[in-house]
Assembly symmetry: C2
């Protein structure tokens, strides 16, 4: 049976030693974020995740959700109680505004807590995770009345939220959507249509479910410019704001799927359901995109969560299972065999996992901080740069983070050998659960197109230019520290590949837009490598400083330096191969006639 321990020490290292978050305490956006408070919250969140959420992960996967004939859905045993404890402890209120019952803590702390919950039980953590998306949409676009009516319930977790975008014939291409919204006399709308793949669309853990639904009003223009967003509660709030009349919407079925069995994936049928417009008519997609940045960071964080829990269990097995002998001679001659950890190929898997997971964690937490600074930074320059980095790197983190989640889960399953394929050991669940994160919230290929098609050209390439400059500057600084010079050199080289790939895009995409399309994924991978490499440079510098000063846990800091070097040795060289591959351009792949792809 798999287990989970929240990596609080690693999170604190990033926040305290790398980001120096304490220096921001009391400043706008960080008013309540004093270091002791942050540390205490991380400790408590880690404890809550491992003690309350984690034990339900495997049984929830085995049991799954059940839909009944009346359209109701029962979640796995124990989920409702765990969710109740989540609400009672106020975990949903961390980063929400005080005006609606929140604690107004910075998002940088929120993402760290969400990682723990998601590691412990990805399916269960989706219920509050989606609610958080709904809260953000309302905060950004809801009327004062809507905010007052819905936000306190959603933030407290008494009600949960969902996002309803996909229809059977349209996922990525939302311009095709057909759900209709007919105006009623009272200012509300009658929503009719079928939505699919609605995570947590129906369940029995909260007294109401608030659906955020994209639909078209009667005179809406075709395509994406005619989509509006509506708030459609399962139970219409009565005059006291409590769940009243049942709305005409129902879960028509739930999907049998590869993983996240504890989260019901619903077909939602709206049959003239009462809903209210959020924000402006025909501006629904823009409103939905506001939620996207947060949601995509959250999904990238799901990848991190699965990578972390899989890594822990892979490492634990390698230090428990005895098989074979060390190549350099028996390490434990008194035992029948040595531990798996003596084998270099097992260590390679674990070090790869570690370097990717911790690099990703640092990147996600750093972007969490940038989302705070994009709202609250004291200077406009700092605010703008933070916002640029968020825009640029969110698609990268969503895609690279979820690729890493799946990859690390797969490699850690490999450490377990045949035992990793057996359900009761839990390793295969991490793989199945991690898989969805590469698909939903915009498939990873769509993230690559967002990066190359929208984010790179933004403001004349300002964001990526700032990014290059930041890397160059820190590389130059690091080269002066002997223990970092290897890593700095490797990062400089990878950043050179990124610049070359950027130049290639600038030259070749205007000639043929398919060159942007064929290169996009690999470009994104290079950017992800460089961004994680920068994080490792910062972590390496912080660890070296601690060691020099005789501060902190020396073994922990030594391990950081070794992982930093392994990232330089074992990951960054891929940047060159990726740049060479993308430079081949679109010609060959576009030349293949469509019908030649079919086997006949």
């Amino acid at each position: 049976m798999a287990s989970y321990t929240a990596p609080v020490r690693d999170t604190r290292f990033i926040m305290e030693n790398v980001l120096k978050l304490g220096d921001r305490a009391g400043k706008p956006g960080f008013e309540s974020a004093d270091p002791d408070m942050v540390a205490a919250i991380l400790e408590e969140a880690g404890k809550f995740a491992s003690e309350i959420f984690a034990p339900l992960n495997a049984p929830g996967d085995a049991q799954g959700c059940t839909r009944h004939d009346d359209g109701s859905v029962t979640v796995p045993d124990g989920y409702a109680d765990a969710y109740r404890q989540y609400c009672e402890a106020g975990w949903g209120t961390l980063t929400a505004p005080e005006a609606y019952g929140g604690q107004a803590l910075p998002h940088v702390l929120g993402v760290a807590v969400e990682e723990y919950l998601s590691s412990a039980n990805m399916a269960l953590a989706m219920y509050p995770g989606l609610t958080d998306g709904a809260v953000r949409a309302l905060l950004a676009r809801g009327s004062d009345e809507q905010k007052a009516l819905y936000l306190p319930k959603l933030i407290a977790g008494e009600w949960t939220g969902t996002m309803n975008l996909t229809e059977p014939h349209c996922g990525t291409d939302l311009g095709l959507l057909r759900s209709r919204a007919e105006p009623n006399d009272d200012g509300s709308f009658a929503i009719t249509g079928t939505k699919i793949f609605i995570s947590c669309g129906e369940h029995d853990i909260a007294s109401n479910i608030v659906h955020f639904v994209l639909a078209r009003t009667p005179d809406a223009p075709p395509g994406t410019k005619g989509i509006s967003m509506f708030i459609v509660p399962k139970f219409l709030p009565d005059e006291n704001g409590e769940p009243g009349e049942r709305n005409s919407l129902q879960c028509g079925s739930i999907e049998e799927k590869m993983g996240i069995h504890g989260s019901g994936t619903c077909v939602m049928n709206y049959d003239g359901a009462k809903g209210w417009l959020i924000g402006e008519e025909n501006k629904g997609l823009a409103a939905m995109f506001i939620m996207m940045n947060a949601a995509r960071l959250w999904v990238g964080m799901q990848g991190l969560g699965q990578a972390e829990v899989a890594y822990q269990n892979g490492a634990a097995y390698a230090l428990d299972r005895r098989q074979g002998r060390a190549l350099s001679g028996a390490k434990d001659p008194e035992e029948a065999a040595d531990l798996l950890i003596v084998h270099p190929d097992v260590r390679r898997l674990l070090m790869d996992a570690r370097a990717k997971t911790e690099g990703l964690r640092a990147l996600i937490i750093w972007i969490g901080l940038q989302t705070d600074l994009a709202l609250h930074a004291e200077s406009e320059e700092e605010r703008q740069q933070a916002d640029d980095f968020v825009q640029l790197l969110i698609p990268v983190v969503k895609a690279i983070g979820t690729d890493i989640g799946y990859d690390v889960a797969t490699q850690m399953q490999q450490v377990w050998g045949g035992h990793g394929y057996i359900a009761e050991n839990g390793m295969e669940q991490f793989v199945r659960d991690a898989r969805i994160a590469m698909i939903y919230e915009g498939a990873n290929g769509v993230q690559a197109m967002d990066l190359v098609g929208r984010k790179l050209p933004m403001h004349g390439g300002r964001a990526v230019q700032s990014f290059f400059a930041m890397v160059d500057k820190e590389v130059a600084q690091a080269k002066e520290t002997k223990s970092l010079s290897d890593l700095a050199g490797a990062l400089e080289k990878a950043n050179g590949e990124l610049k070359a790939a950027s130049m290639w895009l600038m030259e070749n995409a205007p000639k043929n837009p398919n060159n942007a399309g064929s290169a996009a994924y690999m470009y994104m991978q290079i950017l992800g490598l460089v961004a994680m490499g920068l994080m490792w440079l910062r972590m390496g510098a912080a660890a070296a400083k601690s060691l020099d000063g005789g501060e902190g846990d020396a073994a922990f800091m030594q391990a950081k330096l070794l992982c930093a070097r392994h990232f330089a040795n074992g990951q960054l060289p891929d940047a060159g191969a990726l740049r060479r591959k993308l430079s081949a351009g679109a010609e060959t792949i576009m030349k293949m006639p469509a019908e030649s792809f079919l086997r006949t």
Copy 2:
């Protein structure tokens, strides 16, 4: 619902245009292999696989196997009947010797047929696949009496075979195994012990199951030198060679696992079961290794099988699903959206899949031919070289083939977006089924160690030197053909990386064996890339020749050339990054203290 069409045209292209198999017809080992006969068998096998095996793949996965209280196991509905048809059509007899009811056809044909069966239904194809392993073990080490008693039944498929190696405490490290074999007075042995992960260990599709069991005799030396192999039938053959008395062995339980649900994975309990020694006492591991080459090629072929069926369904979806518009402007303006196939990133996934799958198929079929030549080649020089290539490349094909199976299945699932995560569409089953092949029959990391530790140094590096020379020679030839010069140049470069990596190993492994261990996997990946690159060079040359001569299907040949170029552009550049990564050596990863891997 996924579908399957056997890629007979592709197989025939490899056999006819690339390998010129027809030129060998009538020669030793290829007596019955005339081209029309081979083509007819491939067509029939493809039809059988898609019509009889494929329709049971998804329902078999959903239903799985059921163990009953008496230890019996029921396979999914329809499996027994499909298996009966398999036996009646004589598919199990293809490559077996005529003396025992076989057709004595070459193995190069056998592997192609096995690919189709495995693509169509990996779990069901395991029953005859494991039987084939048992047949080979008996052929190599059985007594004349054992052969006469068991081979006709196994080859006809009336009885099935299993391999019993793993025990709860030992998988890779078989030296630790504890199962005991006590001699009986009649020359048989009483086998006692628990074996786990026994694929197809118990079922209801054949009248007897013949277990090949590794165990220790009373005075056996410890470790791998004290292991003997026994034949332990479920029902003891009576005086007529028919199933008689029930032996004292039982399936104790079957595993809940990630995939291959139609193949029961059994815990087998032997309680003084009657068994007979195969071959010499204490030479069981060597006997088991005889089966290994064939079994490992077969498992690599399972990877190919899942890659192929996943590719077909990914491509079919990309030519059916409409979403978004081509970057260069609408392709089907009369439709609401263009087909997925217009998007370069989707084409990249499909071309990657195609280049890997077809390159792997050519490699596996070529190695199939080498296994025939290793037995039957007319000159000793040719025989030896064929045997060298088999020894060198079998671990590569097992590991790279199964990595490709999982990777392609995952990427093709990605083409389907959210619909790929839903069980009823079948894409996620390919991923779950493909996953096991990376683990069993020697985990892929173990294959890498076999390659670097045993196969490279064999005969003073003779095999890999021959391989280099073969690549160099064909590259030089291909450079003279204009349409192949790109590919030849890319392959030359990759082969240069392989040579450099080999040099690195020669210099650094003797200093520290951990350098061999840390480099092994990446070295194997480079060798796999070069071997597949060579196959693409041959396929490209054959396609160019057909086009020049106005022979064959021009569209098929054009597609081959495009895929060859995509392999050069999209895969071979990884060789350089892999070589750089392995050159970092073991220092960093071995320096990490074992306990630093644990999260605390």
